[in-house]
């Protein structure tokens, strides 16, 4: 079946554009609006809601007292090939903007659930064979009258917010060489910043800034330093050229110091003995000047990684007190199983705690620097014996799904997974770089350890200890939202949207959406009512470990479940199929 059968675009296009005009004025989202997003509780304007990435909304109309009454208001099918949904929707001026699989973009009237427009990128045959982890996309960005999306084949597309037509598009890189894109762009001032994926294909990761208006390239900063730059000597020979350190997730921005923080992925190939040294800045967070891209500092969570422990999950910025000292912190929960508190002004290490039991790839972190002492028994040597078990397995710990921070409670909420893997590294001579081919060099197998794999946990940042933990039998792969209503929202792979008491972890409400949830919830207020929205659709990495009903839906909830009566609807007659009888 063709996707486009779902919506007969050509003919209804003008009508739809007219509908847009009636549902909302295209009020531009300015750079200032983005800077002051914290105070704007009625909208959700960027990936992490605010530049500090806290995913905390002060809204409290839905709270511990009434969340039990939450009901669906409307649901919207993204149709298509059901390749899995991982996005964070945005809402501006009464219209929800979100991406589905294949970087398809939808604009939907938030009052009625009626589609305003739809954009579907076209791909060359064979592109899917360059994707390690499914045709997923994590979201769009908005500025002024445009919506930005990164396509799977590494293009940055600017859409006109009014009608979804393409304003401009730029090729970020060559997908045939293994460079792909799945992240949500980040708008800062008048730039759009993007990263790339492909550390399993021998890419060299970078972040790049484009002019938001014209699409002209501003700057590119490589995650792996080039010759002559500090850190390049942490790579033997030419290995830095194909060393991975992809940048496939959205960064965090600190306006106070104009600093952009960006997480980086695993080094490649996975054979750590083929790239002896720290391999900077793979499995790290780097801080760069947001205007020029100039490198400020890096902090490497996992030097000379041998376990695919990407550090891509972007840090949450929060001003906290740890051990009686105030810290301008960057908080990051990592695939290597640890939750890090860093000093974001310097990249200094403050503390790290394990998020799961049984971590064995390291025997401990240096209390001053956080540098791990590697348990060499868990490092697979090229041509050597397989190593097993390694905990956590390569999926983490906490993979890409965003955490949340409630500044009133001082709690950080994370999803994390407890499982293991075996690694088996090929002989060095078998690991050959060829553009566009896998450049992994290691076979792996994931293992279950216990009845439960996934955990939602609350971390008291001041005390540096976990407060509560709520388990799930399947891995948790959804983002988290915390609210002033004393709640957190997330979703599980069983298909449930979950509302938990943020102080206790008690599940106060759940709703079965029919397909696994690996996306991130948002909340907003419209016409005096608070809503929660989340995408549901099994896919991405969880889809590699268990089967379940596929799906592709946006679900919107409120306490009263009442929907405005709309003028529009989503089905459109197929031309010629149902003519009016004379």
């Amino acid at each position: 079946m063709r996707v486009s059968n779902l919506y007969a675009f050509g003919t209804t296009f003008t009508a739809v554009a007219a509908l847009w005009a009636s549902v909302a004025g295209a009020d531009p989202v300015t750079s200032d609006d983005l800077l002051s997003a914290a105070g704007n509780t009625s909208e959700w304007l960027m990936y992490g809601r605010t530049y500090d990435n806290q995913r905390y909304s002060p809204l409290d109309k839905i709270n511990t007292g009434n969340v039990g009454d939450m009901k669906p208001v409307w649901a919207f099918s993204t149709g298509g090939k059901l390749g899995g949904l991982e996005a964070t929707p945005l809402i501006a001026d009464g219209v929800l903007y979100f991406s589905a699989d294949y970087a398809r973009v939808f604009a939907v009237d938030a009052r009625t659930g009626t589609m305003v427009w739809y954009y579907e990128p076209q791909y060359d045959d064979g592109m899917e064979a360059e994707l390690c982890c499914g045709p997923v996309n994590r979201g769009v960005a908005i500025k002024d009258d445009k919506v930005y999306v990164e396509t799977l084949d590494a293009r940055l597309v600017a859409l006109n917010r009014a009608d979804g037509t393409v304003a401009w598009e730029k090729t970020i890189d060559d997908w045939k060489a293994g460079y792909t894109a799945t992240g949500a762009p980040l708008v800062i001032g008048d730039q759009v910043v993007v990263g790339i994926a492909g550390a399993e294909y021998g890419v060299r990761g970078y972040i790049r800034s484009y002019d938001a208006e014209s699409g002209a390239e501003n700057w590119t900063t490589y995650a792996i330093p080039g010759p002559g730059e500090p850190g390049n000597d942490s790579w033997p020979g030419d290995t830095w050229k194909t060393g991975g350190a992809s940048t496939w997730q959205t960064g965090t921005y600190d306006a106070e110091t104009n600093t952009l923080y960006w997480g980086t992925g695993n080094p490649g190939p996975w054979n750590s003995d083929m790239r002896t040294g720290d391999n900077k800045w793979s499995c790290s967070v780097i801080a760069v000047d947001a205007t020029t891209g100039k490198f400020k500092w890096g902090y490497q969570y996992t030097p000379n990684d041998a376990w695919d422990y990407d550090g891509n999950n972007a840090p949450i910025l929060a001003d906290v007190t740890v051990d009686g000292k105030s810290v301008k912190a960057a908080l990051q929960t990592n695939r290597n199983g640890f939750l890090y508190t860093l000093d974001r002004t310097s990249g200094g290490f403050v503390n790290a705690v394990p998020t799961i039991d049984g971590i064995n790839w390291t025997t401990g972190l240096d209390p001053k620097t956080g540098r791990p002492t590697v348990n060499e028994k868990t490092r697979a040597l090229s041509g050597g014996d397989p190593v097993k078990p390694v905990i956590p397995g390569l999926e983490g710990g906490t993979n890409w799904f965003p955490a949340s921070y409630d500044p009133n409670l001082g709690y950080m909420f994370i999803n994390t997974n407890h499982w293991a893997m075996q690694l088996d590294a090929w002989p060095k001579e078998d690991v050959v770089y060829k553009p566009g081919d896998l450049y992994m060099g290691v076979d792996f197998q994931m293992y279950r350890l216990d009845k439960d794999i996934g955990y939602t946990k609350a971390f008291d940042v001041a005390k540096q200890e976990f407060v509560w933990s709520t388990p799930s039998p399947l891995p948790m792969f959804a983002g988290i939202l915390s609210t002033g209503g004393g709640l957190i929202f997330t979703g599980d792979e069983l298909g449930n949207v979950l509302a938990m008491n943020s102080k206790t972890g008690e599940v106060l409400w759940e709703f079965q959406t029919g397909s696994g949830i690996n996306a991130s919830p948002i909340t907003y207020e419209l016409d005096g009512t608070q809503y929660v929205a989340i995408l549901s659709g099994l896919g991405g990495d969880p889809g590699f470990y268990f089967q379940g009903p596929k799906g592709g839906m946006l679900w919107v909830f409120s306490v009263d479940g009442k929907k405005a009566k709309g003028e529009g609807w989503n089905p459109t007659p197929i031309e010629g199929a149902l003519p009016q009888l004379d």
Binding site: L82, E120, D125, G126, G134, G436, D443, Q445, Y545
Partner: protein
């Protein structure tokens, strides 16, 4: 402009079962016959007209197939299945295997390799996975 069908029909390999294999073979007829000449006698019994792998049991092809597997398939199919089914235990016919690798599996995470791999490479990887029941 927004018609997504182009992608699935305009390519050399249409996405529709045996028709695709037909087109595919037409496109590769030259190489196919070369491959057959070079390959050892195919002892596999097959229905009349069925497409079969000329490389089964060929030592060099199996070694080449292992390289193809490691360059393109291992991230999902792993050593004994995981993200995708265990190919070393597959009971698919050669023809069906070819069809799936060329066209992918619609609605699942199995990508189409029709533009990336040659017919030879697909037969090699098929010969490799059928040469053993474990990795």
């Amino acid at each position: 402009m927004r018609d997504s069908s182009r992608r699935w029909t305009a390519g050399r390999f249409a996405r529709c079962g045996t028709v695709a294999v037909g087109l595919f073979l037409a496109g590769w007829a030259g190489e196919q016959s070369l491959a057959q000449q070079a390959a050892p006698a195919d002892t596999e019994e097959s229905d009349e007209g069925a497409v079969t792998n000329p490389y089964l049991g060929d030592f060099e092809a199996i070694a080449a197939g292992k390289r193809v597997y490691r360059s393109h398939c291992i991230i999902c199919h792993l050593k004994s299945g995981g993200r995708g089914p265990n190919l070393f235990r597959t009971d698919l016919t050669d023809e069906k295997f070819l069809d799936i690798v060329v066209n992918g599996v619609e609605g699942a995470l199995m990508p189409a390799f029709g533009t990336k791999l040659t017919l030879d490479e697909i037969w090699q990887v098929n010969a490799y996975v059928k040469s053993r029941d474990r990795y």
